[in-house]
């Protein structure tokens, strides 16, 4: 009893018989093994390794170098920023209105007592015009602290009874004041 597979195979026509014959496996004759030289390859790999290691080392070194440089520059930046702040502070100190005011007064400048305005569009002058006068200046500068009462006590006033029974002490004072006024007035004129 033949299986259906055998029947099927027997029914397939044998095609390309020559090709099939050629494709059949045959034993390859043993040839001499060609071995590539190992030394150049080992050298090549070692070189790559060496280059890699050296490169990595150099990269690391340059990173370190950059870190040092950055540190130095950062320090310099900090110190320059501090210097700038100090200079700004000095500038601010020079721009202190009190200092400017005192300097202006030393130069003989005075504050105006009145102001005039020239209106560009109409050509009109408004406001009052007057000369700035010396002697109207503000008192600037540090105040001398007042002397404490303990060091500078009030004067002790002793009322001495008048020898002239007709003139009271207040009347005498008033007369004295008038006399003083008169003399000072005379001096002024």
């Amino acid at each position: 009893m033949s299986s259906p597979a055998t029947q099927l195979r027997s029914r397939v026509p044998r095609i390309a018989g020559a090709a099939v014959e050629r494709a059949r496996l045959t034993v390859v004759p043993r040839t001499r093994a060609v071995r590539a030289a190992r030394v150049p390859f080992v050298l090549f790999v070692s070189l790559i390794l060496l280059l890699g290691v050296v490169g990595l080392l150099m990269f690391n070194t340059s990173m370190q170098q950059a870190s040092f440089t950055m540190g130095t520059y950062q320090e310099r930046a900090t110190s320059l920023a501090a210097r700038e702040e100090q200079l700004t502070a000095e500038l601010e100190d020079l721009r202190d209105p009190e200092k400017l005011g005192r300097k202006a007064q030393r130069e003989g400048m005075v504050l105006p007592t009145c102001t005039g305005y020239l209106h560009q569009d109409s050509g009109l002058v408004t406001g009052e015009l007057c000369a700035a006068e010396q002697g109207t200046n503000l008192r600037l500068g540090d105040r001398v602290p007042p002397v404490p009462k303990a060091v500078d006590p009030d004067p002790i006033v002793v009322r001495v009874p008048s020898t002239d029974p007709g003139v009271s002490s207040t009347a005498a004072d008033a007369a004295g004041d008038k006399q003083r006024e008169r003399t000072s007035g005379n001096r002024r004129h």
Binding site: M63, Q64, A66, S67, F68, M70, G71, T78, S79, A81, A82, R83, E85, Q86, T88, A89, E92, D93, R95, D96, P97, E98, G101, L111, P112, T113, C114, T115, G116, Y117, H119, T126, G127, E128, C130, L138, R139, L140, R143
Partner: protein, 595 residues
């Protein structure tokens, strides 16, 4: 077979049965494993982050990145307070003792320190940390320490020590306040004024940098994290530094010449309510606060309540005009003395029965005339007006320790009290409050909140202040304000009024003098001393500035017109000049003062 395996009875008694041994062995192993397990739970379960952090911290350096404190600026951006990166020089006496005299000499020549002060510090036994100099510019400190190293002095180093500078010394010092010496651990120590009130805004938040360090340098590829510092914000005030300085000097001269104990001067922008100047005398140098007594380091203009006197007539007569019951030309017969329920009321000048208009009552500053006129108020009417003028309530401009003044409550508001309140006694105010009240007249009857901070800022207690929060409220009608302004112009008139010294040449000025009885500090009663003041605005027909000058306890015989008037004229003149306000050129008020 089983008989063979039976252990010898002698050996068994020594080792015990294998099952027992096995059990003991297992128990021991279980105990050890349990201990391992418990430790594992402890490490991984209970506090894994702590250990991870400890591991990470190994070899890491942490530095604080200090936040810079915000500046306090004037309205033009000029600094009133600014921060400079400062440093302190610190010494380790265990290293400096040996060369102490030479090092002390070296430091004394290069830093502003005293040889005899630092010498014992350089030799301090048992100490390894002594301050040599504090709060000096960082650049200088570093230079000195480096120079010392070159000279072979060891044991010196610098540490951060921020410097707060007040470039204009005493200008606005009472408002700005000051900082104490910084604490090495807690940092800046705000002690007074805006520095204290707005510390949260000014101080900022310190940052932090963590990085791995090797041989004194940052390891480039190591772990590093940086939390940048958030610098403090600047605060811009409405103060004009130059005007504030000028006002302070004029005020000082005025108070000193009048022999007064203290004084305040306020300059306010009439339209916006911005305070250009809040001057106090006596004041202090903010760079050297310890040189001045504590009482001089507060802003008296806001913390001293006082009775305003006749300047208060501006408010009461202004309110009366608003009711429409009277006009500036109201004819009044003013007797020499007015008998009222509890005591007679007199005027500052002796007179018999005179005939004054309402404008004349204000121009001559007649108490009797004011009392007679304000009799026309209905019950509670004057109080309600004064409340709306801002009396009795804090201005809330952002100064700590402000007084709200005292406006008697409805229960204490008797007719006698109303008489006195109508001419500015029996009621107390602070200077900024009063300036804002008078400014209501300048601003056409609309009261505008005074403000000192531009934009908005939150104080330590959560209150938001600043020009963004300004509110406006109409108190009297525009017509009443205009009438009042024209009446106030007559005060400056050399013939009609009492304060010709307050005139600013070329300008129409409206103002009012005040000479008030003052409550003495010791007896808490009217002790014979006075408070003299002048409040006004210019140009009278288009007000730009309101200026208020007050002098406390001047020499006897001083009056608001003679003492505060000229100071007002100087300050107002300067403000008008500086801001280029040209005279309006309109004819001045000619309201009759007598009939």
């Amino acid at each position: 077979m089983s008989r063979d395996r039976q252990p010898a009875p002698g050996r068994g008694s020594l080792r015990g049965s294998p099952q027992v041994r096995l059990r003991i062995g297992f128990i021991l192993i279980a105990m050890v494993l349990s201990a391992f397990g418990a430790r594992l739970v402890q490490l991984q379960g209970l506090d894994p982050n702590g250990y991870a952090a400890m591991a990470a911290a190994e070899g890491l350096t942490e530095v604080v990145l200090p936040a810079e404190r915000g500046d306090i600026l004037d309205r033009n951006g000029e600094p009133l307070a600014d921060s400079v990166d400062g440093a302190m020089v610190v010494a380790d006496p265990s290293l400096t003792t040996e060369k102490a005299p030479a090092l002390a000499k070296f430091l004394a020549t290069r830093l502003d320190v005293d040889y005899f002060t630092i010498l014992p510090r350089l030799r301090e036994k048992g100490s390894r940390y002594e301050y040599i100099a504090r709060q000096i510019p960082a650049a200088q400190a570093t230079a000195v320490v480096e120079a010392a190293k070159e000279e072979d002095f060891d044991g010196l180093w610098t540490e951060r020590d921020p410097v707060r500078q007040y470039p204009a010394d005493d200008v606005a010092a009472n408002l700005i306040g000051f900082l104490g010496t910084p604490d090495p651990t807690k940092g800046e120590q705000p002690l007074a004024g805006m520095e204290l009130a707005f510390d949260k805004i000014l101080s900022g938040t310190d940052g932090e940098a963590t990085y791995q360090r090797g041989a004194g340098n940052k390891i480039p590829l190591g772990d590093n994290t940086t939390v940048p510092a958030v610098d403090g914000q600047d605060i811009t005030t409405t103060i004009d530094r130059d005007l504030q300085w000028y006002t302070q000097r004029v005020l000082r001269q005025t108070v000193e010449s009048a022999g007064g104990s203290s004084g305040y001067a306020i300059v306010m922008d009439s339209r916006t309510g911005e305070l250009l100047t809040v001057a106090d005398y006596p004041t202090f140098n903010a760079n050297k606060p310890a040189d001045s007594p504590r009482s001089n380091r507060i802003s008296r203009a806001l913390s001293d309540p006082y009775e305003p006197g006749s300047v208060g007539k501006v408010l009461s007569i202004g309110a009366l005009l608003d009711t429409g019951r009277v006009g500036p030309r109201l004819r009044m017969t003013v007797p020499g003395q007015l008998q009222r329920q509890d005591r007679p009321i007199g005027d500052w000048f002796d007179h018999g029965t005179i005939r004054l208009t309402l404008a004349g009552v204000l121009a001559k500053s007649s108490n009797i005339g004011t009392v007679l006129a304000t009799d026309q108020f209905e019950d509670g009417e004057l109080r309600s007006y004064l409340e709306r003028f801002g009396l009795g309530a804090k201005t809330g401009i952002g100064v700590l320790g402000e007084t709200g003044g005292i406006l008697p409550g409805p229960g204490a508001w008797t007719s006698q009290a109303e008489d006195r309140i109508s001419f500015g006694q029996s009621v107390s105010v602070n200077a900024v409050q009063m300036a804002a009240a008078v400014n209501t007249i300048a601003n056409g009857g609309v009261r505008v909140d005074p403000e000192m901070v531009k934009g908005s800022a939150t104080m330590a207690d959560g209150t938001v202040v600043g020009t963004d929060t300004t509110t406006k409220e109409r108190v009297i009608s525009e017509r009443a304000a205009d009438q009042m302004a024209r009446m106030m112009e007559r005060v400056i008139d050399p013939d009609a009024g009492v304060a010709p010294g307050a005139a600013v040449p070329g300008y129409r000025v409206a103002g009012k003098t005040g000479t008030a009885q003052r409550v003495g500090d010791e007896c808490a009663c009217y002790d014979g001393s006075t408070t003299v003041s002048f409040a006004g605005f210019a140009p009278a027909d288009d007000p730009q500035f309101t200026v208020y000058v007050v002098v406390q306890q001047p020499r006897k015989g001083s009056g608001g017109g003679s003492v505060a008037g000229p100071a007002f004229a100087k300050i107002m003149g300067y403000a008008l000049r500086q801001y280029g306000v040209a005279p309006t050129g309109a004819a001045p008020s000619t309201l009759p003062v007598e009939w």
